[in-house]
């Protein structure tokens, strides 16, 4: 605050936010530089680009969940439902309806997002554990539906026989049908658009009301914030983002399985948010990266990979109670 001398107090209060250790543009440049350069540095570390694709997909799902968890203070243990609905929506579209990747993404996102919005209307008055239990129960409903409806969804074996299609027409075609770097950049572009939207959302007056609800619901109500409506909107928007991530998951694997709907995946999303830092914007992405890499690395050695991930989760929570990025305590955006 040493530079404030001589300026009017009313102006400094708005203009001079306390600057975090690393400025925000610095964080943004760092994050995007690392993500864009993945095809160049990841192979050097023994990774493969599809792994980075998984990080983006799960990172987007976890960041979507975190709008609700970290920025509104409401716990959902059922976000796999919307992730899985997105995946099945995209897969079913490609298999039965049309060979169009954009249409598959659109319908998958709508399916997951609208299911979440409708369900949200029913549970928006519940709080805490009751809310979380309702979300689990509703999620499992879809899991068993996908599991048992063999003819349509492929049942336990998952939905196969669909393939992501090149996007565009004529000479302006983006061929993402092959894997590799081109598909990774396609995922990154979708990720960037979604995350950019989220960034605006949390900085908007709407985003501020969500933070207020997280901090003190009673006070928020007495500021005349319509708490239930805001929580419902937050839940719905969060479901749309997670469903979008689900459609990308189907495109990534050319496959959708019931486990994408299972509540254990919902738990993994929460773990990603908590490990990375749910009060921070980028925390869930860091959590997802750690989770996916650990899973990939350890599951190649033992089937009990979850025990190791669990142990690491405990260590992170013990030593970084606010998550890996939580130590930075970014103001405003966090």
């Amino acid at each position: 605050m040493s530079t404030d001398v001589g300026t009017s107090p009313a102006i400094t209060s708005v203009a001079a936010r306390r600057s975090p250790i690393v400025p925000r543009w610095g964080v943004l440049i760092l994050v995007w530089a690392v993500l864009i350069a993945v095809p160049y540095w990841l192979p050097l570390l023994g990774g493969y680009t599809a792994l980075a694709g998984r990080v983006l997909v799960f990172g987007l799902a976890a960041m979507g969940l975190n709008l609700l968890l970290g920025f509104t203070g409401v716990l959902s243990f059922g976000h796999a439902a919307y992730f899985g609905l997105g995946a099945y929506g995209a897969g079913l579209t490609l298999r039965y309806l049309a060979h169009s990747t954009p249409l598959a993404m659109l319908l998958g996102t709508l399916l997951g997002g609208l299911a979440g919005s409708l369900f949200g209307l029913l549970i928006v008055r519940r709080r805490g554990v009751y809310f979380a239990m309702c979300t689990i129960a509703f999620g499992q409903l879809w899991y068993y539906l996908a599991y048992s409806w063999n003819d349509f969804t492929g049942g336990f074996d998952g939905l196969r026989d669909f393939h992501r299609e090149p996007i565009g027409f004529g000479r302006l075609t983006l061929d993402i049908a092959q894997g590799g770097d081109r598909f990774y950049f396609f995922l990154l572009a979708v990720f960037a658009a979604a995350v950019g939207l989220m960034g605006l959302l949390v900085r908007s007056p709407f985003g501020h009301t969500l933070r207020a609800i997280r901090e003190n619901e009673r006070r928020a109500r007495f500021l005349a914030i319509p708490v239930e409506r805001q929580i419902w909107l937050s839940f719905s928007i969060s479901c749309f983002f997670t469903a979008l991530a689900g459609t990308l998951y189907a495109l990534l694997n050319n496959f959708a399985d019931p486990l994408a709907l299972h509540y254990s995946l919902s738990g993994y999303f929460v773990v990603m948010c908590v490990m990375g830092g749910m009060r921070t914007f980028w925390g869930p992405l860091v959590g997802a990266a750690l989770f996916v890499v650990l899973q990939d690395y350890i599951s190649s050695m033992t089937v009990n990979w979850m025990s190791f991930v669990g142990a690491i989760f405990v260590l992170v929570v013990l030593f970084f109670p606010r998550g890996l990025l939580g130590m930075r305590r970014i103001r405003g955006s966090a």
Partner: protein, 247 residues
């Protein structure tokens, strides 16, 4: 501005407030006092809309608000602070006040930030922070501040919603002498210089007699006396009620 007509509140068999009336004019600072258990908080909660009275009616700016819930009264222009500090602890002082201003400006559904919104709310927030003297601490987390500064933040939040009537529930509760002095000075300034209409409950008699234009004294749920500070100080009934309590 505020017209309370014969309100009564029963909780089961207990009559917490019986048949109390009060009329507050624009620009007035009214203190509600009384011994413990006199029904002050119950009375206050009916005015702010926390719960409705069993009988009687409440008019705010000529409009019957008896059964209007608290958050709608806020929208009508009643700002309030709480006996127990209610803030958003992990947000900065500025963010606390800014959020209040944004809600008042009707921006709760504005999902993309834009300059016009931000300027509108930022101007109000900056003005209120300057008014209560928290500008220098605008970027501190409220949870890190002293009790007095947290309560001052609450007042700034209430002011950011541009209230016509300010309801303060024990503004000096839990404060030391220095903090009490500062918040009293602030309330006095809001009243004298900014012409806010204020209704407050207060235990500290120095504060009450320093601030109030009119005092309403409650005792055992009923209206005991009403008048200017010197009249109340001279009232034998009031002295008896307070002495009776300490006996």
């Amino acid at each position: 501005m505020l017209e309370v007509r014969n309100i009564t509140k029963r909780f089961g068999n207990l009559v917490a407030v019986k048949d109390v009336s009060m009329s507050v004019k624009i620009g007035e600072l009214r203190a509600i006092i009384g011994p413990n258990g006199a029904g002050k908080t119950t009375f206050f909660n009916m005015i702010s809309g926390y719960f409705p009275p069993t009988k009687g009616s409440i008019l705010f700016q000529g409009e019957d608000v008896t059964h209007v819930p608290a958050h709608q009264r806020v929208a009508l222009g009643m700002g309030r602070t709480f006996q127990i500090t209610e803030v958003f602890p992990e947000l900065t002082v500025h963010e606390n006040v800014l959020t209040a201003a944004e809600v008042k400006a009707g921006q709760t559904l504005h999902m993309l930030p834009n300059r016009a919104d931000a300027k509108l709310a930022n101007d109000v927030a900056a003005e209120m922070l300057a008014l209560v003297g928290l500008t220098a601490k605008a970027d501190r987390l409220v949870g890190e501040l002293s009790h007095g500064d947290q309560r001052t933040t609450e007042i700034a939040m209430a002011l950011a919603q541009l209230p016509r009537l300010l309801l303060l529930d024990e503004p000096t509760a839990g404060m030391g002498d220095q903090e009490t002095y500062e918040i009293t000075t602030l309330i006095r300034r809001l009243h004298r210089e900014r012409n806010y209409t204020i209704v407050l409950i207060e235990h500290d008699m120095r504060v009450v007699f320093h601030l109030a234009d009119y005092i309403t004294v409650l005792d055992q749920g009923g209206l005991l006396a009403e008048g200017k500070p010197d009249e109340i100080a001279a009232s034998e009934a009031v002295q008896a009620a307070y002495l009776g309590e300490s006996r």
